[in-house]
Amino acid sequence: MEINSEQIVDHSLKTKTRKFGGLVWWSLVRHKVLLPTFSVTQAVLALAIVYGLALLLPNMTHQDSLYLSSGAITIGIIAVGCVLAAQIIGTAKQDGIVAYQKTLPVDRTSIILADVIIWSLASLPGVIMSCLAAVIRFKIHLYISPLSIVIILLAQITMILIGFTLAYWLSANVMALATQVIMIGGLLFSPITYPASRIPDWLASVYNWLPFVPTSDLIRATLFHSGTVSFFNIIVLILWALIAFTLSLSALTKRG
């Protein structure tokens, strides 16, 4: 059998697409058991925010319900991207999956994109459950539009890439700590489930540069038509996505 080396280095779009499909398929079969578990977890989280946090507010206003509804979606996206994805990728790193992926004949960008697709799918049930809970509990109208869908996708991709960055660059212990800080900070301290006017101005300014509050504001503006769509918030999210993507890529391309 004659082996033609030039045929093997095939850069045609068809071959690249087939290889990328293989990567997505492998990621899907590896995570197929986890995806239903994540859906249940997100459903519980969505109900806990929409129904549970509402119990803390005896005189619920329309604004409060908007914040809780958009907050549930945002925190669900943060939970999947920055916590669950980070932890699963961190485990994959320890199990040698990441090192194995580095030996496969696919470019590093494809490895990241394949996982982003799977994790975006994984966070969809949470978004849907949060929307359903908000509609049932608060009788809120959802404005589903191309823009609101794009914003949700942008938020998902940004949080997932941040999760990947944490997993690729931090040791297992530090990564676990970082994800917990993000989750507790997101749930309790950041103005995601309540207006930013309740915290000091300087702290609100800090949150404006982090990706979490802009995500919440954008979802509220597009999906619930509360407030205006801020281009600054979009740019902040895109910047975080680009930084996280670059860091993830550099972790995967780093050679010993």
Binding site: I8, D10, R18, L23, W25, W26, G96, T103, G256
Partner: protein
């Protein structure tokens, strides 16, 4: 097909304090199974990783078919299939799915895939576990799965890091037979192993690394013929023997308090057997073995023993 050429590869870690390999130059040809041997930490895995493009050497070059694997790591990944030292990631994925995943990622067509998968599963006699998930497989079966993932859509260059570890004797042989077929069909096959008996039996050539240096590079046939000029008599005795107890002019190495290893030329065999017979009659010998020199003994002589 081209040779894989390695020229003056050097790699140090910890700011130059640890030398993984030092000025290694060699070539690997299609059709040849080359075994990479040496102590733990001798630099074998580092060399594989440098060929693969995962580890960047401090200096030197790795070239194949006009491509520099150091400058073009993506080309290296297309040209090489590598079986890692640790188990391939199999958790939650069945044996068949794991192999199929690599076949898909290597861009194989749907039509080819099933027959290729079945061929590998049958050749390694692991079809019975095809639908078992990785975490339920024994260590040996996980190793075989990892091997199958490497050979299912074989690249021109195949690197294996200890492929037969944990594998039962029957399937070890199947692995080596499969490697032989791949070499015959024109692949470059490089195998890291500590199993010198298998090297002796199945590899065409072996490289011996010691503290990052390449100290031996020869055909196993040549090594076998060289070794046949020497023989080894190993003894276990009832009481410790002194140098004066042995016939003069033979070289004795004491392995432990009651174990001795004697290197004999052909002309020394008959006097040594006569001496042995006398000692057996005196009931001083517990066990003995006379055999041609092995790669195992030569390996210990070339490297610095247990260090």
């Amino acid at each position: 097909m081209s040779n894989l050429s390695i020229h003056s590869i050097t790699k140090t870690f910890n700011h130059g304090q640890v030398t993984a390999n030092d000025n290694i130059s060699t070539q690997f040809s299609p059709g040849v199974i080359t075994a990479l041997t040496g102590h733990n930490g001798a630099g074998k895995t580092t060399l594989l990783n440098q060929i693969m493009g995962i580890t960047k050497p401090d200096k030197g070059s790795v070239t194949f078919a006009g491509h520099s694997f150091i400058q073009e790591p993506s080309v290296a990944r297309s040209m090489i299939s590598m079986m890692p030292q640790l188990h391939a990631p199999l958790t939650g994925v069945t044996l068949r799915q794991s192999i199929e995943a690599v076949s898909r990622i290597r861009g194989h067509f749907d039509g080819d895939r099933k027959s290729e998968l079945d061929k590998v599963l049958n050749a390694l006699k692991i079809m019975d576990w095809a639908n078992t998930t990785g975490e339920k497989l024994s260590g040996g079966l996980q190793r075989l799965t990892s091997f199958a993932m490497t050979v299912v859509a074989p690249a021109p260059i195949l690197l294996f890091d200890e492929p037969t570890n944990d594998v039962d004797p029957v399937r070890r042989k199947l692995i080596w037979q499969y490697l032989g077929q791949l070499a015959e069909s024109g692949h470059i096959v490089i195998v890291v192993t500590h199993n010198l008996l298998e090297v002796d039996q199945y590899a065409d050539r072996y490289l011996l690394l010691d503290h990052g240096h390449l100290i031996k590079d020869e055909s196993t046939n040549l090594a076998s013929s060289n070794r046949l000029s020497e023989n080894v008599l190993t003894l276990t005795t009832k009481r410790p023997l002194s140098v004066d107890d042995f016939p003069k002019s033979i070289k004795v190495k004491q392995d432990s308090a009651l174990e001795y290893e004697i290197i004999l030329t052909h002309s020394q065999i008959i006097p040594a057997i006569n001496w042995l017979q006398q000692r057996i009659d005196l009931s001083e010998i517990v066990t003995y073995n006379l055999a041609p020199n092995s790669l195992d003994v030569m390996y210990g002589g070339l490297t610095d023993g247990d260090k």
